[in-house]
């Protein structure tokens, strides 16, 4: 029966917590960048006209969106190991998270692509631009700028989801919290501290995204209005 909270005990582990937070942040940023890249490829495949690529991408998105991340992580870590591909915990965690977030990114970016009016494509083609040039310079920039807020939310969720990788012993913030909990038995305190840490990390991610957005989209930076 514990009636008094003791925050001092778990806070004494602050170096471990800091390291765990850094791992969480590192994992989040890595998977965000890779997931974004793969997601854009997926979105382009799904919005294109070539049937085969669109269907494969479609099946991939549906498979990821309708199965839990935890199961996906287990398949990548334990499942692949049992058929011969032994991956380190960090690699497996990154791989599973990238595959997961790319599917969601793909859907968001695809909506952005489809919001670019056909008349833009016509104008670009009539200026002599080739298909890939139109995609790279006329379709993708406004599409991504338009869905930037949705992407930001998605990657903040991704950062929160990195906590699930604690289940395969990735030494991120939640795993560190579990360890401290089993050492000190101050469970309420440690999880409250860590919850606060995640809130701080969410804020940090949002600021980072806002900064990247301002840098990448000069129109947004100058005019301040949505596209």
């Amino acid at each position: 029966m514990r009636y008094e909270l003791d925050f001092a005990a778990p806070l004494a582990y602050w170096p471990d917590l800091l390291l765990g937070a850094a791992t969480t942040l590192g994992l989040s940023i890595t998977t965000t960048v890779l997931g974004f890249g793969l997601g854009v490829v997926c979105a382009v495949a799904r919005s294109g006209r070539t049937g085969a690529a669109a269907r494969v991408a479609g099946a991939y998105v549906e498979a990821i969106r309708n199965t839990p991340l935890l199961v996906q992580i287990f398949i990548v870590y334990f499942g692949l190991a049992s058929v011969g591909f032994k991956l380190g915990v960090f690699t497996a965690a990154t791989l599973a998270l990238v595959i997961n977030v790319a599917a969601y990114t793909g859907e968001i970016v695809r909506a952005g692509i489809e919001s670019v009016p056909r008349s833009q494509l016509e104008a670009a083609q009539c200026l002599g631009l080739g298909r890939w040039q139109v995609l790279r310079h006329v379709v993708l920039p406004p599409a991504i700028e338009r869905v930037w807020p949705a992407l930001t939310s998605q990657y903040v969720l991704l950062m929160l989801a990195t906590s699930i990788t604690s289940q395969i012993s990735t030494e991120e913030l939640t795993a560190v919290a579990n360890r401290i909990q089993s050492d000190t038995f101050r469970s309420v305190e440690i999880y409250l501290i860590v919850a606060a840490a995640y809130l701080a990390l969410s804020l940090l991610m949002r600021v980072l995204f806002w900064a990247v957005g301002s840098f990448t989209f000069p129109r947004r930076r100058r005019l301040g209005t949505p596209l």
């Binding site: 029966m1 514990r2 549906e62 498979a63 969106r65 309708n66 199965t67 839990p68 991340l69 935890l70 199961v71 996906q72 287990f74 398949i75 334990f78 499942g79 692949l80 190991a81 049992s82 058929v83 929160l160 989801a161 906590s163 699930i164 604690s166 289940q167 939640t174 919290a177 579990n178 909990q181 469970s187 309420v188 999880y191 409250l192 860590v194 919850a195 995640y198 809130l199 969410s202």
Partner: protein, 216 residues
């Protein structure tokens, strides 16, 4: 079949059953609290509105896993005896309440203001307006995203395995410890989740399309 004995498959299916039970519990618990939150955010006095908003932001900014651990370890600290299923249900309900609260707040606010005005001008009191005019319309608007969120609830029950509740994933881990065939076990589990989630997703998309057309 596929290297698993019938007993093992049955064990998995029983876990699957508990997944469904937990999903329904979380939806019910989270739904009731979420409904109260939504009404608070739209109709209550400012301090309560702010409180509700803070609660939602707080819960949405916390990983579900941490919420579950807080519930599982925290409630015993308050003197309550909590076994995995109760901890999972409470933790998940809290999580669900924040998200459904947001979705339903959006649905309430999406009902055109003119409906509220027309009802008021007819002399209906607040509770009558809510029950007979606002809610029926908000319900229609809320259905596609709510069905879509049910998919999230089902997937999130998988985390209940971490506090020892024997739903599908935990059952799978136990089978895996006995058979050492993780690939087959977890792919099979993924397939079971897919079988439950995909129809819900498809239904949600169909509802969204139908609602879009009706609303134009």
């Amino acid at each position: 079949m596929i290297g698993l004995t019938p007993e093992q498959l049955l064990f998995l299916l029983r876990g699957f059953g508990w997944t469904i039970v937990l999903s329904l519990l979380a939806f019910a618990g989270g739904g009731v609290l979420g409904f109260v939150l939504a009404l608070t955010r739209v109709y209550a006095a400012r301090p309560l509105r702010v409180l509700a908003m803070l609660y939602i932001r707080l819960i949405q900014g916390t990983p579900l896993l941490i919420l579950l651990f807080l519930t599982y370890f925290g409630l015993p600290a308050l003197g309550l005896v909590v076994e995995p299923m109760l901890a999972a249900a409470i933790g998940l309900s809290t999580y669900v309440s924040a998200y459904l609260g947001e979705i339903w707040r959006g649905s309430l606010e999406a009902v055109p203001r003119t409906q509220e005005e027309a009802a008021a001008c007819l002399g209906l009191k607040w509770r009558q307006r809510l029950i007979h005019v606002i809610l029926p319309q908000a319900l229609k608007i809320a259905t596609p995203p709510t069905v879509g969120f049910m998919v999230q609830i089902v997937k999130n029950t998988s985390l209940a395995s971490t506090v020892g509740f024997v739903e599908l994933v935990r059952a799978g881990q136990m089978i895996n410890n006995a058979t050492f065939r993780p690939f087959i076990v977890f792919v099979l589990i993924a397939a079971l989740y897919f079988a439950l989630c995909y129809p819900l997703s498809a239904w949600s998309q169909r509802l969204e399309r139908r609602f879009d057309v009706a609303h134009r």
